[in-house]
Symmetry: C2
Subunit: 238 residues, 2 copies
């Protein structure tokens, strides 16, 4: 089985949540837009040249004739096929709920540097970004991290993961959120991380998974930069 994965080739962005899952499952996949001619293929699918499901935007996954867009939707498809979520329905629903909560955190993280519009440069909305980020770091990051902290603490398997006894795809996504928040807001994260010991321990558990560790040191892992979801603007990190 081989997947074609489509996302912007120069950023981690939302696509990284899918890349991490593909890597952890050891999947055979092509990161299409990073290959020669790949951007044209991606644009053609978004333009509607393929039959069937029309993506609103990247990322999307192609598995044979099936095109699947939206990160959480892709992960809900891949998870059960590769053992990255328990097999029973209740846990699959629970994993998806957690993933959609990650989606919300990712959206709010992105909004910190583009609170007015993605159609404007950051430089044209710095003052709004400062106001937005101040409250994001004071109120929202603690709300999300304390939520995930409670979820890990409540897991009756005491596995240090969000769900059940093993690693599931939302664990990988939560790792990416912690890594992204650390990149974007190092001062804030240094100050608050000790409030979320389970979340940080889970981050460390994920970073040491054999496949993830190999991925993170490979050239397949792009660096964080100022074009993705998580961006480091020192003026926003008080």
């Amino acid at each position: 089985m081989s997947y074609d994965f489509y996302y912007w080739p120069k950023i981690q962005g939302r696509g990284e949540f899918v890349r991490l899952a593909l890597e952890q499952m050891g999947a055979n996949y092509t990161d299409v837009a990073r290959k020669k001619g790949g951007m044209e293929k991606m644009r053609a699918i978004v333009a509607g040249d393929a039959v069937g499901a029309l993506p609103f935007a990247p990322p999307f996954l192609k598995d044979g004739d099936l095109i699947i867009a939206q990160v959480a939707n892709i992960l809900a498809y891949l998870g059960p096929r590769h053992g990255l979520v328990p097999a029973d329905e209740a846990n699959r629903i629970w994993a998806h709920q957690l993933q959609l909560t990650v989606t919300d955190l990712v959206q709010e993280s992105h909004d910190t540097h583009h609170p007015v519009s993605t159609a404007l440069y950051y430089e044209d909305q710095i003052e709004e970004a400062k106001r937005c980020t101040e409250r994001f770091l004071e109120l929202r990051v603690p709300k999300y991290l304390s939520y995930f902290e409670r979820v890990v603490a409540r897991n009756r398997y005491e596995s240090g993961t969000l769900i059940g006894a093993d690693i599931t795809y939302p664990d990988l996504s939560l790792f990416q959120c912690v890594a992204g928040l650390r990149f974007a807001f190092p001062n804030t994260m240094t100050r608050i991380e000790s409030d979320y010991p389970h979340v940080i321990a889970l981050h460390d558990k994920v970073i040491n998974l054999t496949n993830i560790a190999a991925y993170l040191t490979s050239e397949r892992r792009l660096s964080f930069n100022e074009y993705g979801v998580f961006r480091h603007y020192p003026e926003l990190d008080a």
Copy 2:
């Protein structure tokens, strides 16, 4: 089968997308927080008093012992059980993708009046809201509506719906988006609606479904107001 549905009792908000589905499927459900003592029950579950899945926030659905949060997750659960989505996997994935795209539109609609922070009053971010809304109405609403327009136009069943031959849950949600955008931005919608004839025809098809029509004229349907996702502030609707 009877469901307990939990959401804020005074607004349509995100919960309305679930209410519309429950109504269309003729489900037996209780809108718990609108009953006496219901708010306390809702708060207790968010506080973690129930075993199992912990919601980050309302809305959530309780079906026996199963607690399901996040609108799109709830709809993905209900859809196949009540014939509001085709039975095959490809169409269920497609429906969910469309629903997650609706989720993004809803989030952006909410951000227009709260671009800085949900922790601040609208009155404390009016100038930012004006800047944000201007671009939302100029760029984002047309992008979303033209996307859904294309999806209906491409449906090879020529049913006037998003997927297949019949009404599915994303159709109900798209109806709610059109109704909400009309409430919030009547001038803009009057000006642009004719660009999206399939979307408007689908809105009209949904509003005339027997169960939906009965719901919309019942007291179960709350009014749009200035506390939900879609809010009418004349200064934002040029």
